[in-house]
């Protein structure tokens, strides 16, 4: 068996010295990012799933309760915002999904490769720890927001198209729906929301990435328990809830800052009629402190990747 194999290979061995000595151009960052998308397909499958679910829900609703359609889709005189509520709830669902996906992604980010020992394979290739960790940080900070935005727009378009067809089939005019929704304004508000939300949540993602690089196991517990313990300790000793308020602010505090305080009382966010307040958002110290913390956490994660060995 050996002889023919060698015979086949002989030309290749001879040809090798003649091959160009010049190293080929490489793109470690690009391929590191590709690797993350290969490994974590939930990054794009989850938002697409939510979009499909929302569209399906509308279709089922239209089929089973056609009489409700005009009330839900078109302008209801009793509630001028009624038409956009469906769209805003669907978008909110998408943002929550993206946050959950990002959190789980970060918690696994630097631990799964140590658990299955594949870190030995990745580290045998000339990709620095910095490149690897930056590619991983890019997923919740860039890739997921872009995917989420695209999924929201696609979902809204599908919903709009279906609603329009349903309205026309039932003999209603579609014009009021479009006027009420102001889709482009709504998408602009969505894009703005996604940017604000991503910047505001950056330290959360950075922290989870750091914990996943540090913890030997149960990274999720290590990420959450200290905060819980701190909050409990505070409650027991001083009977205050500053820790809880601080966590709450870090999770949803971007919204009142980015959209103006009055919106906080609203049940369903992203009202297209609400004014955007980017100057207020950019002026909040919480944003900049968070970004500095995020940078520190990511730098710590790079260090962890260098120091930690397979589990």
């Amino acid at each position: 068996m050996n002889a023919p194999a060698n015979a086949v290979l002989q030309p290749a061995v001879d040809a090798r010295p003649a091959a160009p000595a010049e190293p080929r151009p490489i793109r470690p960052f690009y391929w590191s990012l590709r690797r993350e998308l290969w490994e974590n397909r939930s990054i794009y499958l989850a938002p697409l799933g939510v979009a499909a679910f929302a569209v399906l829900a509308l279709v089922i609703h239209a089929i089973t309760m056609p009489s409700h359609m005009p009330g839900m889709l078109a302008n209801d005189p009793a509630d001028p915002q009624s038409a956009s509520v469906t769209y805003r709830v669907a978008a909110l669902l998408m943002l929550v999904t993206a946050f959950v996906v990002a959190a789980f992604y970060c918690l696994e980010g630097l631990s799964s490769e140590r658990r299955d020992r594949s870190i030995l394979f990745w580290r045998s290739l000339p990709v620095s720890d910095l490149t690897t960790v930056l590619a991983k940080a890019c997923v919740p900070l860039v890739v997921l927001p872009v995917v989420t935005f695209a999924a929201i727009v696609a979902m809204h378009l599908a919903l709009l198209l279906l609603s329009t067809v349903a309205l026309l089939l039932n003999g209603h005019a579609a014009g009021p729906l479009w006027r009420e929704l102001q889709p482009f304004r709504m998408w602009l508000a969505m894009l703005y929301s996604l940017i604000a939300l991503t910047l505001w949540h950056a330290p959360i993602h950075g922290f989870l990435l750091l914990v996943s690089g540090w913890a030997r196991r149960t990274a999720a517990l290590w990420a959450v328990l200290p905060l819980l313990a701190l909050g409990l300790l505070e409650k027991l000793t001083m009977d205050t809830t500053h820790v809880g308020a601080w966590v709450r602010d870090r999770l949803i505090g971007w919204y009142p800052r980015a959209f103006g305080a009055p919106a906080l009382g609203e049940r369903v966010p992203f009202n297209p009629a609400t004014g955007l307040t980017p100057e207020r958002f950019l002026a909040s110290p919480g944003l900049w402190i968070g970004l500095v913390l995020a940078a520190v956490f990511v730098a710590g994660a790079v260090r962890m990747r260098r120091l930690r060995e397979p589990i």
């Binding site: 050996n2 194999a5 060698n6 086949v8 290979l9 290749a12 061995v13 090798r16 091959a19 190293p23 080929r24 151009p25 490489i26 793109r27 470690p28 690009y30 391929w31 590191s32 590709r34 690797r35 290969w38 490994e39 490769e113 299955d116 020992r117 594949s118 030995l120 394979f121 990745w122 580290r123 045998s124 290739l125 000339p126 990709v127 620095s128 060995e309």
Partner: protein
């Protein structure tokens, strides 16, 4: 030129000393086998060479300091830990894309050529491949990289004998040339005896034996002694004695081959037999010192 040069290489984990200040030098174009019992410090030494772990002392690999210059070093170094380290979700085609995308010295056509000789399907995921196929895939990736140093840590662990044989055959016939250096650790010593050019025994973080295979062959002699010559043979001071089919097999270190030829059948011992003898005498020495 020395490919690897270590002076006073030391590493401890808490109170356990994994490498106890060892010195060694591996010249370019050699194939070094590092042999030792479990926990002897083999993997720690390899990890230090690869820049995967911090160490004390002086270490130069291809002119670089592995820990601080790891990113630069890995371009010229290839590494197979064991067959289990390829991520299970990775597809064969993705592995080719990724390595090709990040390694400046990867020759994809060469990797494809190796894979074409196997039954591995490009669309398969790593988790669907058998252990033998995994080793072939890893080998195909590594051999397509024009590296100067190849480090193998138990590369054939868990493979059946056919794949093990094929692994080393392919490595020698298709990969190795005098400009490359290979460092390998394994427990399957017999299979690499003819492959190695140099040998190192390591035990509890110390080098017990270090020699080239030529030295090994001229230094160690094994004699299957005729029963009537047993007393005479023992008088020559064997380092080890064992019984096989009621005949004494005596192992000598640096004895005169011509003198031994009269005592029985003379041959070159296997690495495994010398390993047992050397490790046994180590243990004996330490037991003596403790008494």
């Amino acid at each position: 030129m020395a490919c690897i040069e270590a002076r006073g290489l030391r590493k401890s984990f808490g109170g356990t000393v994994a490498l106890d200040g060892i010195d060694f030098r591996v010249e370019e174009g050699r194939i070094l086998g590092i042999i030792g019992p479990n926990g002897a410090g083999k993997t720690t030494a390899l990890n230090a060479i690869l820049g995967l772990t911090r160490y004390d002392g002086e270490l130069r690999v291809l002119g670089h300091e592995p820990w601080s210059q790891r990113d630069r070093l890995v371009r010229d170094v290839c590494f197979i830990a064991d067959v289990a380290v390829l991520p299970r979700w990775l597809r064969v085609s993705q592995a080719l894309d990724y390595v090709g995308g990040v390694h400046p010295r990867f020759d994809r056509a060469r990797a494809e050529e190796f894979l074409a000789r196997t039954t591995i399907d490009r669309g398969s995921r790593v988790r669907d491949l058998s252990k033998g196929m995994l080793a072939q895939l890893h080998l195909a990736l590594v051999m397509a990289i024009d590296a100067r140093l190849l480090v193998l840590d138990e590369p054939t662990l868990g493979l059946d004998i056919l794949y093990r044989k094929q692994f080393y055959d392919t490595l020698l016939n298709d990969y190795f040339d005098r400009s490359r250096t290979i460092v390998v650790t394994t427990h399957q010593v017999e299979e690499i005896q003819d492959v190695l050019t140099d040998l190192m025994f390591i035990d509890r973080g110390r080098i017990v034996l270090e020699c080239s295979m030529e030295e090994f062959e001229s230094r160690y002699v094994e004699v299957m002694v005729r029963p009537d010559q047993l007393g005479a043979a023992r008088a020559l001071g064997p380092i080890h004695e064992r019984q096989l089919f009621a005949r004494g097999i005596l192992l000598f270190d640096g004895a005169d081959r011509r003198a031994l030829a009269g005592l029985g059948e003379v041959r070159t011992p296997s690495i495994a037999d010398v390993f047992v003898a050397v490790m046994g005498s180590q243990a004996g020495l330490e037991a003596g010192a403790a008494r």
